[in-house]
């Protein structure tokens, strides 16, 4: 839990060149104001995002990661955002097992016309992550109730799975 009210999360954002990057551009052109906490990295397609990019971002100190891409059915490269969606689902599950709260990893669909929506999604995410506090792995291990809960759930699942085999 965050005891520092002025904690500014550092969030890494991946935007696909065609829709979401242009949505971010549009938010700028329309002078929509949103928190500066998300640092955007451009890729050609959300399908380019290797899970190791996300893991690396957390490892290097990001408090949260956001992936933004074209709406399903509207991917510039036809259906590669579905692959991003699959990887996101897998990563979310894996990250939770590592003790990373689900609010720290988010997938947003934003078409090139949705600058306002992207700005709102970023604003919301920054606030959620601010409440969670910094992702300081070692330090938060004991204090963060949600992490304990996640660990307990994993232990429980594992025990159940072992029962079946026995």
């Amino acid at each position: 839990m965050s005891d520092n009210p002025t904690f500014e999360p550092k969030i890494l954002g991946f935007c696909c060149n065609w829709c979401s990057y242009r949505a971010a551009d549009l938010a700028g052109t329309a002078r929509i104001k949103y928190p500066t906490n998300v640092r955007i990295i451009r890729v050609m397609c959300s399908g380019r995002i290797d899970p190791t990019f996300v893991l690396n971002a957390f490892a290097l100190g990001a408090d949260a990661v956001m992936i933004a891409g074209c709406h399903p059915g509207e991917c510039h490269y036809v259906d590669q955002n579905y692959k991003a969606m699959r990887r996101y689902g897998m990563l979310k599950h894996t990250l939770r097992q590592m003790g990373i709260e689900p609010e720290r990893f988010r997938l947003v669909w934003a078409s090139a016309a949705e600058g306002q929506q992207l700005a709102e999604a970023i604003t919301q995410m920054v606030e959620e992550v601010r409440k969670l506090g910094p992702l300081a792995w070692a330090a938060n291990w004991q204090e963060n109730g949600q992490r304990i809960e996640a660990l307990e759930a994993i232990v429980h699942e594992h025990a159940e799975a072992m029962e079946v085999l026995a």
Binding site: D50, P51, F53
Partner: protein
């Protein structure tokens, strides 16, 4: 040998400098980021002076990498790449940082914005060190073009290209070109006879030496990429020998099997089993409809064969697959009409005198089923009152949210025809009146003067359930007249529903075949809705006409011509440069797992059965990078977006976040991100 970076932070007047402390960012970059040789700030980097500054520094300071922190790369990436190229630095060794749209314009907090700017500059600086020189690849452009769809947009595109001296293959699914425009009676606002303005263009196409007309044919397969597409077209069997047929029409006259014509006559008229869709059809070669032909049904008749003076009937004909090579493809596949039965409150299909707009066009048409007389379903009674309902299926959250662009004008046109041809009163029930092009508003004024009645209200119901004796035998239009502020029940004899334009039922599937996608509404996605409405995200595939979105005839013609102009530009140039942002597979390291093969929507990855490795077909690769991310062995490299570059970018963006980086910078010689990156690459 270390790289030599030049960092340029643009003020963009006060657009960036008003919020981000650009001088501080430039100073900080020069002292904090490794390998930075030059770090400047300047008022307008995109100006010729700004570009000159970069070019001079590249020459004098021997820069090997350039970072320009300014606006969005979508605006000026080309500008700064060109500046580098002018100074003989490979353009792909330049990286832009978006300090304006993504930073200064979205924040009022100067401290936070400056901190974000620093992180973004660091990210680009780390990334650019790993960027490699790349060369765009030239591809020859085949001067032949494929146009799919023989409506007005496709016809215009075809004629523009053919007249310019280039060969066009025009593929049309139905037996004749002409599209929906051939079904109309008059066109707004000039009230030209639709067929009279269309058929000269149709004839020209039919006779043009540079056009190969493939009607009753469908595009089955597209492969390849811009400049050299390979297409497969199925020429469906007409069961008529085109070379021998003279178009005399005896076969049609003598055919004993008559069926309802659901296509051209919108279900109001008849045709024979062997038929041409309309008298001015191009080509005027009939087609046998297998579903209704007696010979194909039970082996009898063959009247057409017996009576044909040139023995042109060929009942054993088969579909033919034609393979062609073209440089570009223009899709002008048009639209279909909304099925008004989906709105049962209007009674279409249940109440006989409720008509669709297409049915009404056929009634008005002098060559139509009633020879141009506007009559009720019984075929003889003239209506005394006609109601025209706007927005049937359009502007409707339950069906199509969009406006179909043409129906208000078509409704005015119908109103005029009713007033001209009958003594009936005519009512328009509208939500808004949208006569918004040249001559349209004047046409609306004309109809106001001619005495057409306009009721502003969306009709709730069309019913034959009468409440008073005066209403008996009529159709009652129940509507809230929003200008009067009252409910009204208006009895009429005939109701015309202005049905929406809808994408073709197989539009999405067909688009995917060509490598383009549709919007949520089902219209083809253009490259940019404002600035590039006829190109698609797939180079070499263009769209024109209503398949891109509802529009009237002039707009369709313009788009057909625009697409043709784009194609002509490419043919004239002779080669097209493909961006070198493509994937490549290290064949020595590939294990042949083939996970990447099915990930590519452009079929750009092939499997070499002998060597048992996968290979990227560079000409087809669009550079999305999905295969790069998916390869479990990490042997696919995405040029200009490879792992090292992106991981370095991540490291730079988080320069102030990681305790690892700070410790490393405090003492070590190696940049910290390389440490993290090499740890990860040991997988």
């Amino acid at each position: 040998m270390a790289e030599r970076l030049g960092i340029y932070v643009c003020h963009c007047g006060s657009n960036i400098a008003g919020t981000v402390d650009v001088e501080e960012v430039a100073r900080w970059a020069g002292t904090t980021i490794r390998d930075v040789v030059v770090s400047r700030d300047y008022k307008f980097m995109c100006s010729s002076l700004g570009q000159q500054m970069i070019e001079d520094d590249i020459g004098q300071q021997k820069l090997s990498r350039v970072v320009v922190a300014a606006c969005s790369p979508h605006l000026h990436e080309k500008t700064f790449r060109r500046a580098c190229a002018n100074a003989e630095l490979n353009p792909y060794l330049c990286q832009m940082v978006n300090l304006r749209e993504h930073c200064s314009w979205v924040s009022t907090d100067k401290v936070a914005a400056t901190a974000k700017a620093k992180a973004l500059v660091y990210a680009a600086a780390e990334r650019v060190k790993w960027q490699e020189p790349l060369e765009p690849m030239p591809v020859k452009v085949n001067p032949n073009t494929l146009v799919v769809g023989g409506g007005i947009a496709g016809i215009q595109a075809t004629l523009e290209l053919a007249d310019a001296g280039y060969h066009v293959y025009l593929v049309e699914r139905s037996p004749s070109i002409g599209g929906h425009m051939a079904q109309f009676d008059k066109t707004f606002p000039t009230l030209d006879c639709s067929a009279c303005i269309l058929t000269p263009k149709m004839s020209e196409v039919g006779q043009h030496e540079n056009v190969t007309l493939l009607t009753y044919s469908e595009l089955e397969e597209v492969s390849g990429s811009v400049g050299s597409f390979k297409v497969k077209i199925r020429k469906k069997a007409r069961y008529v020998d085109e070379a021998a047929c003279t178009g005399c029409g005896i076969c049609t006259e003598k055919c004993p099997r008559r069926v309802i014509d659901h296509d051209f006559e919108a279900g109001l008229g008849y045709r024979k089993a062997i038929y041409t869709p309309f008298p001015q059809a191009v080509p005027r070669i009939p087609v046998i409809d297998v579903a209704s032909c007696i010979w194909f049904d039970r082996g009898k008749c063959r009247a057409c064969e017996k009576l044909c003076p040139t023995n042109a009937i060929a009942l054993d004909q088969e579909d033919k697959i034609i393979e062609l090579e073209v440089g570009n493809v223009i899709l002008a596949t048009g639209w279909q009409l909304f099925d008004s039965r989906k709105l049962p409150q209007f009674g279409y299909g249940r109440l006989p005198n409720v008509f669709t707009n297409m049915e009404f066009e056929r009634l008005c048409n002098a060559a139509g089923p009633t020879s141009g007389k506007i009559v009720l379903r019984d075929g003889k009674t003239e209506p005394e009152s006609v109601a025209i309902l706007h927005c049937v299926g359009s502007r409707d959250v339950n069906h199509h949210e969009y406006c179909s662009a043409v129906c208000c004008m078509a409704a005015l046109k119908f109103g005029h025809l009713v007033l001209e041809k009958t003594k009936a009163q005519v009512y328009s029930f509208y939500i808004d009146m949208r006569p918004n092009q040249k001559g349209y508003e004047e046409f609306y004024q004309r109809l106001l003067e001619e005495g057409m009645h306009f009721v502003r209200g969306k009709v709730a119901e069309v019913t034959d359930a009468t409440r008073q004796p005066a209403e008996r035998g009529k159709l009652i239009v129940q509507v809230e007249d929003t200008l009067l502020g009252r409910q009204r029940r208006i009895p009429v004899d005939m109701v015309v529903l202005m049905g929406a334009m809808e994408p073709q039922p197989d539009a999405k599937e067909f688009g995917l075949k060509c490598g383009i996608s549709c919007s949520m509404a089902g219209w083809y996605t253009e490259r940019h809705p404002k600035l590039d409405p006829v190109a698609t995200m797939t180079d070499g595939i263009f769209i024109a006409g209503v398949c891109q979105g509802p529009k009237d005839i002039p707009a369709s013609v313009v788009q057909g011509a625009a697409a043709a102009a784009r194609v002509q530009g490419m043919i004239a140039k002779g080669t097209v440069m493909i961006e070198p942002i493509v994937a490549s597979i290290d064949e020595k390291a590939c294990s042949g797992c083939r996970i990447c093969n099915n990930l590519c929507p452009f079929s750009a990855i092939e499997f070499d059965g002998e060597k048992k490795v996968s290979r990227v077909i560079t000409a087809l690769c669009k550079g999305c990078g999905t295969c790069v991310a998916a390869c479990p062995a990490g042997v696919i490299t995405g040029a200009h977006f490879n792992n090292r570059q992106i991981l370095a970018e991540i490291g730079g963006a988080l320069w102030d976040a990681s305790p690892v980086l700070e410790d490393a910078r405090a003492g070590a010689d190696e940049p910290a991100d390389e440490e993290a990156e090499s740890a990860l690459s040991a997988r």
